[in-house]
Amino acid sequence: MSQLRLLFRAVRWRLGGALALFVVGVVAVLAAAAGPLYLATANDSVLHSILISNPPVFDGITLTPRQGSGQVAAAEAGLQAARQYRLSRWYSPQKLVLDAGLTVVGPSGSRFGSDLISDPGACGQLHFLKGSCPTSAGGVVLTDRSAQGLGAKVGSRLTTTIPGPVHFVNGIPNRTNIEKVVVVAGIVAVGKPSAPFWFGDDYFGFGQSCPPNAPICLPQLDSMFTPQATISSVPGTLATDELFLKVSTIHLAGAAIFNQALGNFDTDANQNLQLDVSTQLNSLAAQANRENQLMEAIVLVVDLQLVLLALFVLFGLVARTAEARQKEVALAKLRGFRLPSVLSAGLLEPMAMLALAVPVGLLLAYLVVALARPDLLPGGQLSFQPLALVAALAAFAGGLVAVVFGAWRILTRKLVDDLRGVEPKSSSTARAALDAGGLALALAGILELIASGVLNGRQPNPIAAFAPGLVAVALAIVGMRLLPRLAQLVVRRTRSGGHLGLGLAVRQVVRRPASLRQVAVLAVASALACFAVAGWAAAGVNRQVRADFTLGAPKVLQVQLPPGLGLEAAVDKADPTGRYALAAMVSKIPSQNLIAVQASRLARVGYWPEGISSVPLSRLVHWLTPHLLPEMVVQGKSLQIVVTMTGNPSPPPDLQLALVDQDGNPGVADFGFLTEGTHTYTAPLPGPCAFGCHVSQLLPVWTQAQTTVPLQGPVPIGPSSARYQLTISSLQEDPGSQLRPVTSELANPAYWSSSGPGMSVSSVTVGGRPALRLSVLDQASDTTTPSVYPGGLPAILPGVVTAANSVQDPAAASVENFDGGLLTVNVRYQVAALPQLGGQGFLLDLNQAVRSETQPPSLTEDEVWLAKDAPASVVSRLRAQGIRILSTKTPEAAISAMNRGGIALAYLFFLFAAGAAAVLSLGAAVFSVFMSARRRAFELAVLRAIGLPERALRNSLLGEQLMVLVPGVVLGVGAGLLGVFMALPSVPEFSSTQGSPPVELVLVPLPILLMVGLLVVLLLVAAVASALATLRLASWSRLRTEIM
């Protein structure tokens, strides 16, 4: 107890030194413990960020019954099993969704396609305009636009036809449809399909044309919502269980229990309940794991450097403060203490400070991470980490070693030397050997990093983060050895000059090169800070670039078009200048990887960073921009054509024009069978062509004639080919008033391109006017009909693809168009990545892609890209055309998501760690020089007593501080910048650089300058404060009593 009291008094007596030891010890323990704590929390946060950034359908579970019948019962059993395995701990809500496709006939008699949906809680997600949520079977909720389309209102009775199951009667398939009358109970505003509640289901596809492979293609209404009882007993109703993941309950700490429960449920549902269990949680977890692995490597490298630096500072500090305990050690030796007691006299105090630093450092590490958690590590769970304790104890052990080494000199010093007051002199040979060893190790480390390819920048490697520290150590040692030599040069100059303060300062630096060790510490810390700031700033730039490019433009609106409105035309109308908006269409089907934009507006509106392509964007735009003849558009009720046929094929060909309406729906204008000679034919146009349809093909359809099969003998069939000529001298449309020519390009053979070898195109003159001649050779064996495309439809579209597409023949690569048809693309250029598509995809001009469609596009997203300075009027003009904006995307969301990524969090840790290292080493350096000056307080007091000006003394102290501190910072910043160029290309910026803009290694000067400025300010303040404090110590009274 008495020893403890004595220790307490000793600590109080040397409070400054003890506190410094304690603080450095705390920093060492904090750094060591914060690493694992931060990592664990950040890992959790990364997983959390990934989970919440994905829609619920990705991280949730979808259970789909495999059997065609009994789906509802199977799905109910699935929910029962989920309850049994207590999945509600992690998944809630869990709901059974029923979907019955149907045809609905409104009061006006119009027929539409739709779906009857039972989704528990759906009413809570909808905004009721009229009526209320139906509670009994037969009640439905319609969206306002569906109600308008149907001509229905609350209380209207709608007849629906639900396709019944197929059954066979005498081997013939037969389907009995179920008719059901439903009553409109409520009318709601259109919901947002992207809302999490809908679990990825788009129930608001109004106006969208029929989905692929639909047996009947009807105009689609938004889905109708109804209670489960309405459709649960209807055969053919599709049932799905949707289990929403409670992201906040998912933590790495409890992953084992979660995985086990989920695995057991999966097995049971798959094997016993015949349910397909679908979730992307595993791939999301794998993504998080990839991020975390990179983050772990960086954080550990950084943490290790910080801990080593802190231990080195601790060593220096103990060595520096050991002198104050020298007397106790000497006294212990004089009193004949045993070795443990002598050690106790020399080491107990720093060891006690270090021991005290362990719990405090641990606590602070916990608090720091806890404080950082809400803003920087959202969703991360901070829990006790045994590794943090181990790391803290390891830092403590390292600290003990540092303490022992730091106090070595006073412990091993001869008592006689102590009693005679002989100043301990460390061997210059030993110092040189130490420095040579340090330099050799640093250089060996750098060479190893270079030789092993870590620094070649081809492959990201977190180990590269060691480079700046090693460079700093090497440079600092060289600088440290040179500094006294340089100071000696100054000494000569100050011999005759009047700069007394400077003269004293440089002499002091030459006299006590031991204090120059602080140069090394400060240099390493400054280098780490410089590298961290430069890396963080560069990473910030890259995140911005990636976010901008991922989106394609500063702002992207996801829109829904009203029927009959073309996206491109709408954008042209909203922004006639072409400076603020761009129409884009993106495929949502992964196999398509297609994006089409208004190429002519791309350069002004879109974002295209350097490095994506070696040619300028203007060149790409030039390649993509269509240089096509105008489309052949027909509009009206009917068409009239004048055709002269020669060759009289048998049977006669049927002349047709393939049409596509504004919504992309196909149609046909059929002129009927042609007869030899010149005749005028008329074909009615499909209804939507009242607003205009473009001609996608002109084709004479000829089929080989067959007669009825005779009882005996070969089947008599007609000729296997037909050869004839068609001369089209006129094509006119009838808008309802009078006929008018469709296009002036009709007779231009260059306007047409044939689809195959069976058709050739030429121009002739009929009655003094140009006419189009088609020479046809139709082989019955051919699978395609000879036809011609009008000039507005290029057979091959120019495009830009990403290099990862591995296009074999750039002249004619095949890609699935938005409508599902095959498109031939002439690859004009290969780029590193494409907006929104990333590493794999095709970029086309929207106009060309749309013209090439012969079917309505399915599963595409219509987007409007807006320039940064786009006025609000553009959006309002879009809305005025009936365009509905489903969502607005900005790069900020992507940046925010990336900022929560593993690498970003690792950089953040690096930044904090480097800042802590810089402050720590600056404090240690100032403290060290202060202690050195304090030892000379008597000497200074004498200088003052003999009349040395106060100013000269102050300048000498300040000069001495600055001569140690400034080179440290200068060398450190230099080493940091060198480290940036050497190592930054190899430090991972993103977990994957595939399909992204190349990482830019930009040196952003402002943050570095700010960091250096901050360091210089801190340095000056500390130096001035230290100099003044030392001057106060050098008082008159000091001359009477020596420093105890």
Binding site: S2, R5, L6, R9, A10, R12, W13, R14, K327, E328, A330, L331, A332, L334, R335, G336, F337, R338, S341, L415, V416, L419, E1042, M1044
Partner: protein, 288 residues
């Protein structure tokens, strides 16, 4: 403090000590012969650099003599191992350094300093017969026991330093310049303290001082000059000492009149001898 300790007697024989230096060895002691009785209070006098502090360092086992032999009680210092010397310093011999601050923990109280000084002895199973408070009270410093050393005056610090030196109850107390930088009154207090320790504890007390007044207060003094034993004194009276080799070291004031190389005539009589210088005699003879 009723315990009486048996002091150590000292026998130094032909002690020579050299300090090595880059310019060549420096001779600090040139054949010193000295005997100190057990329980004696004794002071070494002499100017700075005469070698008196070296004698203290030799007696405390901090140095080993370059030549000669030191016997202290049952110990032959030259034959003791470093650990035995440590034990000796912990239990039998205590050295109080010049400048009290070097003997004390400035942040600790006087009592804590005494306890600290006892720690070495206690660790070796040698239990001092008195506690810190008891010792301080016995030595008249009870009122200082709980005061922090840094707050004590120079004299008080010196007394506490001597008390700390006495703390392990040593058989030999070595005190280096105990009265330097002290005023007369305090000096007398310190001298009295040393006498008290010697008388009440029974320890042999060897002090080093260059203050003749301190020497005058000591029962026995030996003057060291140029590394040799000079004169010896008893309560202020100086005596010449006949060495083992028959040489006589004269008191310093005598040496001023009779510099080395002076021829002397020896006149014998019943109570001793007179040394007469013919040169001085001729100067004193009045002209006839």
């Amino acid at each position: 403090m009723n315990t009486k300790i048996r002091g150590l007697d000292i026998h130094m024989e032909g002690i020579v000590h050299l300090y090595p230096s880059q310019e060549g060895d420096v001779v600090a002691l040139r054949g010193v012969d000295l005997d100190v009785e057990a329980g004696e209070e004794f002071a070494l006098l002499g100017p700075s650099g005469s070698g008196k502090s070296t004698i203290l360092a030799l007696l405390s086992g901090l140095h080993r003599p370059s030549a000669g032999r030191i016997l202290m009680g049952e110990y032959d210092l030259g034959r003791l191992s470093p650990s035995q010397l440590l034990r000796l310093r912990a239990t039998e011999v205590s050295l109080v350094l010049q400048d009290p601050a070097r003997n004390l923990l400035p942040y600790a109280t006087a009592a804590q300093n005494v306890e600290f000084a006892q720690r070495g002895a206690r660790a070796r199973g040698h239990r001092p017969p008195f506690g810190a408070q008891e010792l301080l009270e016995q030595l008249g410093m009870g009122q200082l026991a709980h005061r922090t050393v840094a707050t004590l005056s120079g004299g008080e610090q010196q007394r506490v330093a001597i008390a700390a030196g006495t703390a392990p109850a040593p058989r030999l107390l070595l005190v280096d310049e105990p009265t330097s930088q002290l005023d007369t009154k305090t000096r007398d207090q310190v001298v009295a303290l040393l006498a008290q320790i010697n008388q009440t504890l029974g320890a042999t007390v060897v002090s080093v001082t260059h203050d003749p007044e301190v020497g005058a207060a000591m029962p026995r003094t030996v003057t060291i000059r140029d590394g040799r034993i000079g004169a010896e004194g008893r309560r202020g009276q100086e005596f010449a000492v006949v060495g083992k080799d028959g040489s006589v070291q004269l008191p310093p004031d005598v040496l001023e009149r009779l510099p080395p190389g002076t021829l002397l005539r020896v006149r014998r009589h019943a109570s001793g001898v007179d040394l007469l210088s013919p040169e001085l005699e001729s100067q004193e003879t009045p002209p006839t």
